[in-house]
């Protein structure tokens, strides 16, 4: 009876494949309505424009701004805005909107970007000055004429965020709390009307995979562990994006096991990272490197050769450092002590599984690695207290100073790296940044503070009718929405 009722209801609700019946509408699974908050910039880009964004080569490309100059010290930038960009209500976007937004985001109640001073030179020219070298590529701008009278103290509660007046490729059609937000194309978009007519962001919590498999959404961000299930379904395509970040094991350098750089290099040689990519369903073409990378270097595929998987070379290095399996129990020893340590793993990002594979690989090399999984916040407390031996977590280029700079929690104390990171704080010149990152990477070849196990990557699943996505740099549906299209039944 339940079956008949369900079929009856389902039958009167939908007919055929829901995904193919939606025409030129794309439905994307997102966790919840927090995506509408003004600091979720990946989705902000649907309705608002930044001054510039990074293109596929990692270079700045103008959006609101058509050209710009900066001072020699990169502390002051002057942007010249396009004159053909309008808000959805028809008003032109001006330098006053840019200044207003930066002042707003620096307001003490919001404190997103304090310390940035913007000056309106004329309607289409704005000068932005900060105490440190900078470039701004992750801020979108809001309409001054609609927001100036609102209370910044209630910034996050403004109804504007759920019914925004924007200037981007899409504009909000309707917002249904706890269910969805629907966008339509902006006919006045300065780059021309996007090909997808409607975009629906459906709030599905953690049910994105089941929503996708049920045909209720067209695009969802996934987990590598879900790849085999999706790969076996011909309705979907899989796209992988890569980012400069990585999932490394950081060594606590002060620990007696890891003090010797030869041991740290031997540990890197003990790990078959290609195998890790394979067993974890990550793209095999993803970069394996021991370098730290800028976005430009990643996108230009400029990275040095990694320390390769080399069990024999690892054994030589272990032996040179005094670690040999003398009693033939499968574990290296030195001065009667086994090579054994515990890695602390945060419980996010599926890193527990990574740790298990690494454990197996190190066991083959005679290294016994125990795993302790912590709630992420607990892990941070332990890190700050220095209560760890090794630490498996996410590395972002933006955390370079925290991870390896002065006072870092690893006890890594390479003066050359300290100096290079200090220099990084004094520049925003992309060429100089590339040079500094290369030099840091050179140091890491001989004195590695971590082993980069896996590249920073994200996996996206999309119904095959959604076109315009590609791996690895156009894989994110949210940031490339305006370039996507929906193939109709005739294959157009």
């Amino acid at each position: 009876m339940l079956q008949m009722l369900a079929l009856g209801i389902a039958g009167c609700r939908h007919g055929g494949d829901p995904a193919s019946a939606r025409g030129s509408t794309l439905v994307m699974a997102v966790p919840d309505a927090s995506v509408l908050k003004p600091d979720e910039w990946d989705l902000d880009f649907l309705t608002f424009l930044p001054l510039a964004t990074r293109n596929e080569q990692g270079e700045l490309e103008g959006r609101l701004a058509q050209r710009w100059q900066h001072s020699a010290d990169f502390k002051e930038w002057t942007y010249h805005l396009r004159t053909d960009v309008h808000w959805d209500d028809g008003r032109p976007v001006t330098a006053r909107d840019v200044k207003f937004t930066l002042d707003l985001l620096g307001h003490p109640a919001i404190a997103a970007y304090p310390g940035i001073n913007a000056t309106v030179v004329d309607d289409v020219t704005v000068r932005i000055r900060a105490a440190k070298p900078h470039y701004i590529d992750d801020i979108v701008y809001y309409p001054e004429h609609l927001l100036r009278s609102l209370d910044p103290g209630k910034f996050w509660e403004w109804a504007f965020w759920t019914h925004p007046v924007g200037n981007g490729p899409f504009r909000v059609l309707r917002y249904l709390p706890d269910r969805l937000i629907e966008f339509e194309t902006n006919p006045g978009y300065y780059k021309g009307r996007p090909r997808i007519e409607r975009v629906i962001l459906k709030f599905v919590g953690e049910a994105s995979l089941t929503e996708l498999l049920s045909g209720n959404v067209d695009v969802a961000r996934g987990e590598p562990s879900q790849v085999p299930r999706i790969a076996s379904d011909r309705r979907f395509s899989i796209y992988n994006s890569v980012a400069p970040g990585a999932y490394p094991i950081y060594w606590k350098i002060e620990h007696p096991l890891f003090r010797d750089p030869r041991v740290r290099r031997a540990l890197v040689h003990s790990l078959d990272r290609r195998e890790l990519l394979r067993v974890l369903n990550l793209p095999e073409e993803a970069p394996i490197t021991d370098a730290v990378l800028t976005l430009r270097q990643l996108r230009r595929r400029e990275w040095p050769e990694p320390l390769l998987y080399d069990p024999a070379g690892a054994r030589t290095l272990y032996a040179a450092a005094g670690w040999v399996d003398r009693n033939r129990d499968g574990v290296l020893e030195k001065d009667g002590r086994p090579f054994r340590f515990t890695v602390s793993v945060g419980n996010g990002f599926g890193l527990e599984k990574v740790a298990v594979y690494v454990q197996a690989q190190l066991r083959r090399a005679g290294v016994q690695m125990d795993i302790r999984v912590f709630d992420e916040s607990v892990m941070w407390d332990k890190l700050r207290a220095g209560d760890f031996e090794a630490w498996l977590y996410v590395h972002q280029p933006t955390s370079l100073r925290r991870d390896f700079g002065r006072g870092n929690p690893l006890g890594y104390a390479n003066p050359a790296v300290f100096e290079l990171i200090d220099r990084l704080q004094q520049t925003a010149d992309p060429n100089e940044e590339d040079r500094i990152y290369r030099k840091i990477s050179d140091v890491f070849q001989t004195d590695p503070p971590m082993v980069r196990l896996l590249p920073g990557s994200r996996v996206w699943f999309a119904h095959r009718r959604i076109r315009g996505l590609s791996s690895p740099f156009r894989a994110s549906a949210d940031t490339h929405m305006e370039d996507l299209w929906v193939e109709d039944a005739t294959g157009r």
Binding site: L2, Q3, A6, L7, I9, A10, C12, R13, H14, V27, D32, S34, K37, D39, W41, P108, A109, A111, A112, P114, G115, D138, F155, W156, E157, P177, D178, R179, L180, I200, K202, F203, V204, G205, E206, A207, T210, E211, L213, S214, G215, N216, G348, D375, E376, S377, V378, W380, D381, V394, Q396, T398, S399, R401, R402
Partner: protein
């Protein structure tokens, strides 16, 4: 009865104050800093320490714990639960949006529990030791033992993903606004079916067992024998004599079922992406969103206290032998 209820409500104030204090202390003593989560999970840029300090100050996290406690309890007394760290919106607004969904789910699960649990319990008792009784008994024990979250995932896999009979998440379809009124009702029921079933089935199984035992106890009472001796039909004996008395303890346990259902709803909402208070609470715990954790804990505590009160009052109303303070309530 009014005096009794007022007295119980006044007694609940120190109880709730105690719960509030313990919850506040435990939440703040738990390891982790909400700003860590904010910075590590939600940012794609290096956060200036100055910004972090500003945020800490803005949320009052820079103040000593006793000061934070006094401010929080004062605000709660005025109905102000503060602002969510994660959503940056007033907690009261967030909860007001979520509570109706949780109540919808729990109320229907309670109804399902009563309808199915009692029916099966009666059937099982009147057909004692028959094949029907054995099937119901084994089925009840199995359903009672299965963890709700596992059952939910399995049902989604079978009935949503593979068969496509039910939706996998949410409360309504995308085109809900375009439907006619009857279609809207069907759509709501369609979305409620699986979560209500999963939430209600374990307690229905418990109710069935309880109902069977109580009814069997009553059926062996002398007044039931007397009714049968007077020539009443078996149907009349069960419905008019045995069942009414067997229902007394059953009805009262529904007040106590509320905490059980609220606890279950936390997991069920997570599995079905049901936008209720449980989902809000679970996500808040993960993000160390103190104001939301505290507010949802307090609301759950209030509901549990009220549930107990309802149970006691109902007991007095349905059982004429019970009186409070020397006076009968009904």
């Amino acid at each position: 009865m009014g005096r009794y209820i007022l007295k119980r409500l006044l007694q609940a104030i120190p109880l709730l104050a105690g719960i509030a204090t313990i919850t506040f202390v435990m939440v703040h003593l738990a390891p982790g800093d909400p700003m860590d989560m904010y910075i590590e999970q939600r940012s794609q840029r290096e956060f200036d320490p100055e910004v972090i300090e500003l945020l800490r100050k803005k949320h009052g996290l820079d103040q000593p714990l006793p000061v934070q406690y006094v401010k929080w309890i004062g605000n709660v007394a005025r109905g102000d639960f503060g602002e969510s760290f994660r959503y940056r919106r007033p907690v009261a607004t967030l909860i007001a949006e979520r509570v109706p969904y949780t109540l919808q789910l729990t109320a229907l699960a309670l109804f399902f529990d009563a309808l199915i649990g009692m029916t099966l319990g009666i059937l099982s008792a009147v057909k004692q030791y028959s094949r029907t009784d054995r099937i119901i008994t084994v089925g009840s024990l199995v359903m009672y033992a299965i963890p709700g979250f596992w059952l939910g995932i399995m049902l989604v896999l079978v009935f949503s993903v593979n068969l496509g009979w039910f939706p996998t998440s949410q409360t309504r379809s995308l085109d809900y606004e375009l439907l006619s009124a009857p279609e809207k009702l069907l759509d709501r029921l369609w979305h409620l079916a699986l979560p209500v079933f999963v939430l209600g089935v374990a307690s229905a199984a418990g109710t069935a067992r309880f109902m069977r035992n109580k009814l069997l106890d009553v059926l062996s009472e002398e007044y039931v024998l007397a009714a049968r001796a007077r020539g009443l039909s078996e149907r009349a004996v069960i419905l008019h004599h045995a069942l009414r008395n067997a229902l007394i303890p059953i009805v009262t346990i529904y007040g106590l079922a509320l905490p059980f259902l609220l606890g279950g709803a936390v997991l069920i909402e997570k599995v079905f992406a049901w936008p209720g208070m449980g989902l809000l609470a679970v996500d808040a715990i993960g993000a160390r969103d103190y104001p939301v954790i505290l507010a949802t804990s307090m609301i759950a505590a209030v509901l549990v206290v009220l549930g107990n009160l309802v149970a006691d009052v109902t007991y007095a109303l349905v059982d004429p032998r019970v009186s409070y303070g020397g006076k009968r309530l009904a």
